[in-house]
Symmetry: C2
Amino acid sequence: MAALKYSRQRESIKTYLSSTVEHPTADTVYLHVKEEFPNISLGTVYRNLNLLSDIGEAVKINTPDGGCRFDGNVMPHNHFFCKKCGSMIDLEMDDIDHVNEIAGKNFDGIIESHSILFYGICGNCITKN
Amino acid sequence: MAALKYSRQRESIKTYLSSTVEHPTADTVYLHVKEEFPNISLGTVYRNLNLLSDIGEAVKINTPDGGCRFDGNVMPHNHFFCKKCGSMIDLEMDDIDHVNEIAGKNFDGIIESHSILFYGICGNCITKN
DNA sequence: GTGGGTGCAAACCGTTTGCACACCA
DNA sequence: TGGTGTGCAAACGGTTTGCACCCAC
């Protein structure tokens, strides 16, 4: 297997990911890292985001709108996706294991903890109405 | 608004959707309907799947692998997605509203009932190991 | 110096769309 | 006949990849 070498670009991507709770798209990451590395390419951003996700230093989450987001918070948690504005929000739930128990009653597979995606309308979009 | 006209192709797509619990991709639907309509195009399949989804006669579900699936079962229910084989399975849960309550405790948005996507390994893939 | 990382651009893949023709009403 | 649906092919958007060059080690 390939040995992992340091790269300033990857470091910058990690730093940005851990500085936000916005669950940015690859393109958003690209635009931000571009401020520090004007010549960085979108391909490099994708390669590093996927690499970070592979080694467990980021989380890749496919969204119900077909796109995908990246999360620097690798602690187990679930997500909520707003169908109005497309924002993704962390959902910390102490008693989430109970959810898996409920689901498991009618199911013989293994439901992964903290991989649940909820769907609906966020508080921000409700107040705007 | 445009009046909806009958089409044999759309009817065939609906029939196929309601005959399976496999949550087929657009391409799978295409391959099956092609048996009855050899000249049907993938574009037509997509147009009709989206139309059926818009008028509530089918459900479109984006999967964590980036693709999307279609479900002829429009009764409210949740889904499980297998990260190994990519299969999608219906999850009927009587007391699913409790899940929304749990999630809602730390959250000020509206979590849509029966829109929850679970993630893990299905029973079929477990026995194969 | 070796081999992983980058920038660039082309390729890829699922999905959408513009257009001329076909068909339902 | 008017207007929706179809087949075809091109376009689209997000993501991946091949390649030559760059840089960490």
